[in-house]
């Protein structure tokens, strides 16, 4: 077996979700090749070469890959794939965009967001917003798989010494172009990498009140998340949404504030190690998954909590 794993990165650093995907790959077994496709991303390939368990790094460095356009990336990965038994990527929005395209070009199915490796062809994945867990077997010669990073420990980032092989071919479809982006800048840890997350829901009332959450987050070095209702109401930006259709997180501590606990929200956070719920409605379903529940008004609790932490 041989695995091609497509690294997630921002042309400067390797996204830690890649390390979780390396762990999934090593559970499948066989040689692991990491593909770093981007523009001016030499630093990422250097980082990738040090990851324990990686035997080779392929570096595709060209302007065509600068913004991870699926049309271009999928052509590149399709060209490389025939040498491998598995093509893997961590299931961020980049891989969700280009990987099914790779699968279709190869005429194979894709197994989305695996949470466990049973054998080289059999995997577990959540369906119905995590309300059921399916065990599936891929019958294809090349298995195209995305990995839910929160379900796998991170591989060790140091110690490896893989060779780096630059690729010369450039794949460009010419049908799409990058126009611009609005990335949210924050000093806080990223949601998918944070050890502690403090999330607010519709109960927060408005965007300004998120300052109360931020004070608690500051004390804990936490990331700040939100429910869809809070995002829809315009309290905070979309990249903060946790849930079935937002980010999937599994921190050591998740504090849900003014969030009712709809199944779509639970789908994104119920694998957290310790869950705290703060809600004034004692019947709120969030309490059914919370290790510690506090039935109280968040506007009283949050300032006190920030002070006592």
């Amino acid at each position: 077996m041989s695995i091609l794993l497509i690294a997630e990165h921002n042309n400067q650093t390797l996204n830690p979700t890649t390390l979780s995907a390396v762990t999934a790959a090593s559970q499948i077994g066989g040689d692991i090749t990491l593909l770093v496709a981007g523009s001016n991303c030499q630093a990422v390939s250097d980082e990738a070469a040090k990851v324990a368990g990686v035997s080779k790094v392929l570096l595709a460095d060209a302007p065509a890959y600068a913004h991870s356009l699926a049309e271009n990336l999928s052509l590149l990965v399709k060209e490389l794939a025939s040498d491998y038994s598995h093509v893997l990527a961590p299931a961020g929005t980049t891989a969700k965009d280009f990987m099914p395209r790779v699968a279709a070009l190869l005429d194979v199915g894709q197994v989305s967001e695996i949470i466990a490796v049973e054998s080289a062809d059999t995997f577990k994945r959540p369906i119905y917003a995590g309300n059921a867990i399916a065990t599936v077997r891929s019958a294809d010669a090349i298995k195209v798989i995305t990995v839910r990073a929160s379900a796998f420990d991170k591989a060790v980032a140091e110690g490896g010494s893989a060779s780096i092989e630059p690729l010369s071919q450039v794949c460009e479809a010419g049908t799409s172009a990058f126009v611009g982006e609005e990335m949210v800048k924050s000093e806080r840890p990223e949601l998918t990498a944070a050890r502690v997350i403090v999330s607010g829901g519709r109960g927060m009332g408005n965007g300004d009140n998120f300052a109360l959450l931020e004070k608690v987050a500051d004390k804990l070095g936490a990331a700040v998340g939100a429910s869809r209702a809070a995002v829809d109401a315009g309290f905070v930006s979309n990249d903060m949404q946790v849930g079935q259709t937002g980010k999937i997180v599994a921190p050591e501590l998740y504090i849900a504030v003014g969030i009712s606990g709809a199944i779509q929200h639970l789908a994104g956070m119920k694998e957290s190690k310790v869950i705290v719920a703060i809600n004034k409605d004692e019947e709120a379903p969030i309490f059914q998954v919370a290790d510690y529940g506090l039935v109280a008004d968040l506007f009283q609790v949050l300032p006190e909590l920030a002070e006592k932490l």
């Binding site: 049309e71 059921a132 949210v184 980010k247």
Partner: protein, 249 residues
């Protein structure tokens, strides 16, 4: 410009999911079914583009057993002009759906195909991208804004770090995210009118597509339940538990 919208029949997002006792699948007997929420948004976007004069016709397609006609009628009531059902015994997996849709695209030549980003039952998030690959078209996935400007579509996408905008040469494929729009409700007279709108039934054989199984479902289980926790009565008690019992702060 014609717009093709692909819609899936799924469990209602409020319905309770139960796993069958023999662990073969989820039990859908007597469960409320509905249009996949992301597909509802896809239909709404197409209708808005028609109302804005960008689109001339909205065609909806669904693949599955006869029951999917119910969701096609819903889409017609919302404002789609005509519908196509591709009749299969079960819901096929994404690659097969994409192959069937590629044939419909070939026949209908739409300027834009709009799909949901994800079915809320299988949570695959694959079909639109696969269709784009099979038809060689560009894709704007997880769209939160779609503008058609001449022979291009400008699509704002929801990505992990925020928003990213791409320009696609038409014809193109778009998949919808939740904030693209807020779908309207069908009005009773429109529901009546929808019964008379054309609904054509085709089979995979008609389209020359052979369905293949790539991913086999071996088992479906309920997720591990979380241990019920406790209620604390003060902030002090909470901080104490987190420090001394859970040891996470």
């Amino acid at each position: 410009m014609k717009i093709l919208v692909s819609v899936k029949r799924v469990i209602d997002y409020n319905a309770k999911v139960r796993v069958k006792a023999d662990n073969s699948d989820v039990d859908l007997a007597n469960v409320k079914m509905a249009l996949n929420p992301f597909c509802e948004i896809a239909v709404e976007e197409a209708i808005r583009l028609k109302e804005a004069g960008v689109a001339s016709e909205v065609v909806v397609v669904s693949i599955g057993p006869k029951t999917v006609q119910e969701q096609l009628r819903t889409a017609l009531a919302l404002g789609a002009d005509r519908a196509i059902q591709i009749d299969t015994e079960q819901m096929p997996e994404p690659l097969n759906v994409a192959k069937l849709l590629a044939k419909v695209v070939e026949a209908e030549q739409p300027g834009l195909v709009i799909l949901g980003k994800q079915s809320i039952d299988s949570d695959n998030n694959q079909t639109g991208q696969m269709l784009a690959a099979l038809t060689g078209r560009p894709q704007g996935t997880f769209a939160s804004a779609v503008k058609v400007e001449g022979d291009k579509a400008v699509v704002t996408r929801e990505v992990d770090g925020g928003l990213r905008t791409v320009e696609l040469a038409l014809p193109a494929i778009v998949t919808t995210d939740l904030r693209l729009n807020e779908p309207r409700y069908a009005k009773l007279p429109d529901i009546m009118k929808a019964k008379k709108k054309p609904l054509e039934v085709k089979t995979p054989t008609d389209l020359g597509v052979e369905l293949k199984q790539h991913i086999e479902l071996l088992k479906v289980e309920a997720p591990a339940a979380r241990q019920a926790g406790i209620k604390v009565d003060s902030v002090d008690a909470l901080v104490d538990k987190l420090k001394n019992e859970a040891k996470v702060i």
